[in-house]
């Protein structure tokens, strides 16, 4: 695969976007042809669509239930009205300022999401929506007393022109969101919904990712609110009731507002359907009823909304037509491990395995590490030094504290005592994502590659550049970049996760049972690759594994834990002969060994 192809498959949205773009073009022409009354409704559809899109960012992408998007819209509307009364600014500037004004508020609500999740967050945001409406009831909309309405700019005064303006703003917002989607932060939105730990482990700050989602959501919703003012000249508070936020949330969940077409669909449903009902003599309150029932039905089919499901079917059909499916290996046959293909990556800019390390200073020095969960001592004064250029094994029965050790070194668990040095400098005080950036990467025992991303997107999230991917994937015998991780079976996701951990120039990677679930020959091959990691990537490895053939095949040194204590440490063959190790594994004392 050539880099260009690679890049286009990584950012495959050109194809994904062609459909909504043409849809927008056709719709636009159609709307311009309609009489003013209908054009007006389609303007509403676009503003509503923007608010649905904001739900698509906060809920659709990052899976945070926010029931106050109309409050952000109210902020945008209010600011536009206020600017209109007090300053003489161009309309588009006022909308932009209105949008930006909601950003701090969005970030503030986003702060709540750092501790409140799921329904708790939903209730908190609904409370914010209720508080906003109380505030708005007391403070009249700027200009509403003295009749200073927001005038549409002269160039956009007719319904058709104003519709075009809205369409352009909508397209601009969609491009902004699309741009961010293809950035690391966009990949991270899909990652936090799956696992916050995995997001932090690749070096992304969970707090920033969530705040970014809420801020962007608030901005988009507030832009929608600003347009609403321009459309009507003045807005009634009834447009920003908490119930509206609930309703748009349900509609967005129904159509799948994570996608542009889903957001437009939500706007159309919200704005056009009631009018159609009015014409057909169907009572208006049937609409919310349908939205509620529809949302329930769609959710029972899958979490991504109607458009998400259409896309899934589309993907499936495309996959069944010729494109490679499950089980086809990497883009190229991997070279036999150990062959001289040279390091795929130059060692890190800081001199890599050269300079300081020659003196025998460990890459990672774990000293006296003690972890207690209540009365249980999970780790008891564990010392491990991982030397540069080595693979160090960490074995022990279930519950010995292996994963706890990785959790502690990477910052997920606070130790009761002990220290962790990375190349001589203490990293104990750093939060998880900073440790990851400093050069300590990990994988998870449960397999935490992000299912919503493709292999390439996941590697991008992990901090890699597209030109690095191909060699890496071939080396780790992974599926190609455009394969969705959700389509890869669990055991084969682990090598992808290992590959991701090697990006961003780590000094040491901590691999938690990367071979779980692999067949014997596959895990032997994986062991050879892991043994090659120090040579190729200039980083040391701590390998937690149950599979002894893998440990023997990959490791230079080994440490055995049992009930949180180090019972043996040293070269592989010596340690495995140690009677205490045998006892720990078999659970019975061996004759002739005194305890």
């Amino acid at each position: 695969m050539k880099p260009v192809e690679l890049a286009s498959s990584l950012f495959s949205s050109t194809r994904d976007r062609a459909f909504p773009l043409s849809l927008v073009a056709v719709l636009t022409l159609f709307v311009l042809w309609l009489p003013d009354f209908w054009t007006f409704l389609f303007i509403s559809a676009l503003t509503t669509g923007l608010i649905a899109l904001s739900v698509g960012i906060v809920y659709g992408r990052a899976r945070m239930v926010s029931l106050c998007q109309f409050s952000f819209a109210a902020v945008g509307a209010w600011v536009v009205g206020w600017l209109n009364v007090n300053y003489n600014l161009p309309f588009v500037v006022m909308i932009l300022v209105g949008g930006l004004a909601a950003v701090p508020l969005g970030a503030l609500i986003g702060l709540l999401s750092l501790r409140l999740r799921g329904i708790n967050l939903a209730v908190a945001t609904l409370g914010f929506a209720a508080a906003t409406i109380v505030y708005l009831r007391q403070t009249p909309f700027p200009g509403s007393f003295n009749g200073q309405f927001v005038e549409r700019p002269a160039a956009f005064s007719s319904e058709n022109r104003f519709f075009l303006l809205c369409a352009v703003v909508f397209a601009a917002v969609v491009s902004l969101v699309g741009y961010l989607d293809r950035r690391r932060v966009g990949r991270a939105w899909l990652a936090v919904r799956y696992s916050e730990r995995a997001t932090a482990a690749v070096g992304m700050s969970v707090a920033r990712v969530k705040l970014a989602a809420f801020s962007l959501g608030a901005f988009v919703a507030a832009v929608g609110g600003g347009l609403l003012v321009g459309q009507n000249g003045i807005v009634s508070l009834r447009s920003f009731e908490p119930f509206d936020s609930l309703l748009i949330f349900a509609v967005a969940a129904l159509t799948g507002a994570r996608y542009v077409d889903g957001a437009i669909g939500a706007g159309l449903l919200g704005a056009i359907l009631p009018e159609l009902f009015r014409r057909w003599g169907i009572p208006l309150d049937v609409a919310p009823m349908l939205f509620g029932v529809g949302a329930i039905y769609v959710l029972s089919q899958g979490a991504e909304g109607a458009h998400g499901q259409l896309r899934e079917q589309w993907r499936a059909r495309r996959a069944s037509r010729g494109l490679p499916t499950e089980g086809t290996g990497p883009a190229r046959v991997p070279e036999p491990a150990g062959s001289e293909s040279g390091p795929a990556f130059p060692p890190s800019g800081r001199g890599g395995r050269g300079t300081a390390n020659r003196a025998g200073q460990p890459v990672l020095a774990i000293g006296g590490l003690t972890v207690r969960y209540g009365a249980v001592v999970a780790l008891d004064r564990v010392d491990i030094d991982i030397l540069p250029g080595t693979v160090h094994g960490l074995i022990g029965p279930n519950g010995a504290g292996k994963s706890t050790l990785i959790d502690t070194v990477t910052g997920f668990v606070e130790p009761a005592a002990g220290r962790v040095l990375l190349e001589g400098s203490a990293i104990d005080r750093l939060p998880v994502h900073k440790r990851a950036r400093a050069g300590v990467r990990r994988t998870f025992q449960q397999g935490r590659a992000i299912p919503d991303l493709t292999v390439g997107q996941y590697l991008q999230l992990a901090g890699g550049r597209p030109e690095e991917f191909e060699d890496l994937l071939v080396f780790m015998d992974c599926p190609p970049v455009d394969r969705r991780i959700s389509e890869i079976d669990m055991a084969r996701r682990r090598p992808v996760e290992v590959a991701a951990s090697l990006l961003g120039r780590p000094r040491v990677v901590l691999l938690d049972e990367p071979g779980a679930g692999l067949a014997e020959d596959e895990s032997a091959a994986l062991a050879r690759r892991i043994a090659d990691i120090p040579e190729r990537f200039g980083c040391a490895v701590l390998l937690v594994e149950h599979d002894m053939t893998m440990v023997v095949g990959a490791c230079d040194g080994i440490t055995v834990l049992d009930f949180g204590e180090t019972i043996a440490s040293g070269p592989v063959d010596k340690v495995l002969e140690d009677p205490r190790v045998v006892e720990a594994y078999l659970g019975v004392p061996i004759e002739g060994v005194s305890s």
Binding site: I119, A122, A124, A130, Q138, E196, R197, G292, A295, S300
Partner: protein, 263 residues
Amino acid sequence: MLLYRMAGVLNFSIAVFGAFGAFIMVSLFERGLPFGLAIAVGVLAGLALSAAMGAVMAALFPDTDPITRSVVTIGMAISLFAVAFRIFGDRPRSFPPLFPSVSYTVSGVSLKLSGMVALGLASVLAFAIWLFLRRTRIGVQVAAMSTRSTTAELLGIPVRSYTVAIWALAGAIATMAPILAAPTRQADFTSLGLLVVPALAAALLGSFHSLGLTVVAGLGIGVLEAMAVRWPAVSTWRTTLPFFVILVVLLWRQRGEVWDEAR
């Protein structure tokens, strides 16, 4: 609250079920049905409605993540609001007082009889549920179900029928709440349905774990609201007051929850 503890999902729509039942009660009463009978029918209606929704939940979302389930209850709430507007209209109803409006004055604070009955009933219910969960076999099974639905099903616990039963029970309780509370509040359907808000606030304060704490929290919020009426600067905000309280408490309680549950 009850639902969260028992069925692993907090219900956005529960207060709407309750309001539904209460309005049926009022409508029947206005048509001349005896008060007691109207209440019985209303509570039964709330129960049936809630049970039906519980059945939908059990049938369509047996093993879905809690967030999706919560979104489903949001959908239910919206639909039911719409249905209720259809049936009952947006006109406030006057609820017949359940108890004579007698007040007792205890050291300067006047207590309404209805308030005291509500308090007593809430405490009794909370205690009964607590006993049920702790002391009976079914209680333990239900608790197991709320944490690991699939595992519970594999152990032979009739997950579906339990779910429906719990929803039904919650619906009945939720119907009684507005019947008790309505005389002190404006009684149009929206405000009753949005009783969910303070109710959730109470549940959140109890952090979904301690039922006793929830009752105390619910009462505390009620008292706070009542006090705020007398304090002009705050009184306009009194409906949102519970939020600021719960937000602070909730953030304090959750301060250790740095990571989500996915490991």
